[in-house]
Symmetry: C2
Subunit: 257 residues, 2 copies
Amino acid sequence: MSSHTDHSQKTVTAAILVIGDEILSGRTQDKNMAWLAVQLNEIGVQLREARVVPDIEAEIVDAVNKLRAKYNYVFTTGGIGPTHDDITADSIAAAFGVAIDYHPEAMNILTRHYETSGIEFNAARKRMARIPDGATLIYNPVSKAPGFRIENVFVMAGVPMIMQAMFAEIAPILQGGAKMLSRTIGAGLPEGRVAQKLGELQGVYPNVSMGSYPYFKQGEVGTNLVLRSTDPEALNAAFDALFDWLKTQGVSASETS
Amino acid sequence: MSSHTDHSQKTVTAAILVIGDEILSGRTQDKNMAWLAVQLNEIGVQLREARVVPDIEAEIVDAVNKLRAKYNYVFTTGGIGPTHDDITADSIAAAFGVAIDYHPEAMNILTRHYETSGIEFNAARKRMARIPDGATLIYNPVSKAPGFRIENVFVMAGVPMIMQAMFAEIAPILQGGAKMLSRTIGAGLPEGRVAQKLGELQGVYPNVSMGSYPYFKQGEVGTNLVLRSTDPEALNAAFDALFDWLKTQGVSASETS
């Protein structure tokens, strides 16, 4: 793949919808957002928005419908377990205006799973086989209860280990576009000293997004300068221009990851 | 304060808007959301939604306007530094349809700060004194550059240490309502075995929100059952009913935090 084909590809965007009171109460620290952001970028999908909503159907419906209209892909996490507060599947069905019922393949998977493990396949566990009409299953190699895809919305578990396994199932079918490339300089100067130069360079390289993130390490003030672009040539040119300027300032500067 | 006045108070809601490409790229793991959720609840403010948007004015404006119309308070983090990608102040001004200019008090604070520290107060740093018309400052004891409040929107830094110091400044002026109380049982059984009972109890105690979160620890499967309510009597009654039932099931169950 040549560098030229890279940045001539179209931009593919995504949003993440995190569903769950436990995130909004602060009880659980969401870890799926950052993980998915990195994985999506690897396959040329750019995360453009994330939302966290409570276990309330109207809120889930509203968020899903807004996000699926705006982005190429929507990934939801959470709310697909066996308990009464797991309302994601019903909410997605409501968002799409379709019915929801026990999905034959999901029932088969779970019947086999609980038979094998000698655990009762009770009514609560059968809830996990309820899938909106028209959706296809996302297999769950960890704990079996599947996620599902309906149009451009991918519904996954909230437990990171399970979500990651589900994502591995769907990654091959996602259609990526231009991949966002990134280079970072760790510079031993405060933001305020590089800000003007960075703004100038941003004008020179409009296709390179330039971010500046101060850090404080062992009493030292520094700035991570993150350059991002789908165009590797522009990225490298901007990187070199910034790096060369930093050297003229007599401050430490090195490429970091 | 008696337990009765607690749950007769009104519900006060909030949303958090995290602003920054670095969160959506996965480069930085957001830590402000969970921290603020806990702090807000301490003062009787319930976090109901969180959003993460990129450094794009139209996205910030749209999110701020949606959230400030829907919730009692909105807290933003990120994008108030000296570099060109710090566009939060301008975006908030645009959201409120007000002008933005150098704020005299913010200029004084920063002038003094840079004089004292012998650092040039250059044009980039002066950007941090630009505050929307009608806003009041939120002092920043860590690095001086202030945040601000305009109506029900509180604009804070993204660096957790600075955000936390700013929140300490504004916490006393927030008007809290009913505080969400919470009790958790760690139970040595899978979700699917407690789901039916939990659903039944949810029907009996409609004012107690019941959440169920599976865990896998050293090969053992268990479930954290989280009961939340603004009504301490209902909370305790629901807790006792669930705890007593778990004991009849011959599984381990203990109150955890």
